[in-house]
Symmetry: C2
Subunit: 212 residues, 2 copies
DNA sequence: TGTACATCAGTGAACGCGCGTTCACTGATGTAC
DNA sequence: TGTACATCAGTGAACGCGCGTTCACTGATGTAC
């Protein structure tokens, strides 16, 4: 890679990091072009050297944020039962620390409302990222759906909905004690989430770390 | 009430209906002053005869929307077990019809992200409305917390988080079949939500109808 | 009942601001010969 | 190796637009006498 290309790529990485942080903290409208470029140490005009428009940036920022979130949340493999796994991931996700540390928080929770009001391209990206997170929860490979038991996948969907809904509620209220209680109630509820297990309980090949 | 006051009140009701619909459809930023006033059949200048600023409107619109949502969702009393009640309310809430009918949808789901990024006044209003909905789920009076079993209240919190999270996810994705599956998985999960019941199962005095 | 004045819901033009996007330009890097 | 030109990441001023808010004004309603 030429020196120029290396420089451009370094700028791109700064733009992606800045836009991911802003997306998680303030949603789509917070990831404004001028603000993101300022955070990245560039002027707003340079933006169009990297992206065609703001929607492209939003999609790239979402993907960038979630790749990072997933790595830290689900992490590396480990032996555990399906229920233990959900309980463990729930205890990592539904914490006051995750609620308060917006800049590194789960982007699926941060932009769920924004995605609902976005065009098909952003929705498609959101769906792809949600599917990747669901597969990660199921401890399957990124693009490998065949090995996932449908009942477990449904458990994972409800689990993710509980995580995102609980975090959204906890952030939307004013009183810290009530917010803490919301998180605690949701962590507690994860323990009763898994559907009655199908005939044979297949051994999961799980993984390690927290944010979507 | 004088003829003038009646006229003003009729205008206010139109403003509240218009802003509640826009709040549910497009969130806080969608409930823009000029757009709301246009919907209400007035010019934007008249807005400040009714509200001090946009935040006051947002709070009033949220309260207006949720009063309506709650009435239709929880409705009138009926005899049923706690679990049956949650399952029934979940089946009313987590439907494709509710997902698609944005103008009448649950405002708690619609503005959860907005509330998280709002000032203390809007958050306080969101919290109050969320508490009212939780009490309604528990089939208690609006301002009466003493008769609610804490374990049930925690169940209600997790149930509401699952409803809001499931609806948010279902709206954020692109593919209708996947969206339907999200709703189905969440409806299914409600059935396993309730905590192991405490010693004596007290009889609930429940109620009837669907959106928050 | 009639007249004179006060009130006030609603009008419509204007404001300052931040947004996404465009564009002529700069200057360091890369390429051709 | 040296010169001449092409490329292109980044700059900074400018655009049109929608936002929340202000304000002088209108005209129907309400009130005092």
């Amino acid at each position: 890679m030429s020196a120029r290309a290396e420089l451009k790529n370094a700028s791109l990485q700064r733009i992606l990091n800045a836009s991911a942080a802003r997306l998680r903290q303030e949603g789509l409208s917070g990831a404004a072009v001028a603000a993101v470029m300022l955070d990245a140490g560039l002027t707003h005009g340079a933006f169009y050297c990297h992206f065609a428009n703001k929607e492209d940036l939003a999609i790239a920022a979402l993907r960038h944020a979630l790749k990072d979130n997933r790595r830290r949340w689900v992490g590396s493999a480990r032996r555990e039962s399906w229920l233990d796994r959900l309980i463990r991931l729930g205890r990592r996700y539904l914490t006051p620390a995750h609620r308060d540390d917006l800049a590194d928080s789960c982007a699926l929770a941060a932009v769920a409302s924004d995605a609902a009001r976005s065009g098909p391209a952003f929705k498609a990206a959101y769906q792809e990222e949600a599917l990747k997170s669901l597969r990660a929860i199921c401890a399957a490979a990124d693009d490998d759906d065949r090995t996932i038991d449908p009942a477990r996948f449904d458990d994972a969907i409800a689990f993710l909905a509980l995580c995102i809904g609980g975090m959204s509620l906890a952030r939307a209220v004013n009183d810290k004690a009530f917010s803490d209680r919301i998180l605690a109630a949701c962590r507690q509820a994860v323990g009763s989430l898994t559907a009655p297990l199908p005939p044979e309980p297949p051994t999961a090949e799980p993984t390690d770390d927290p944010n979507s």
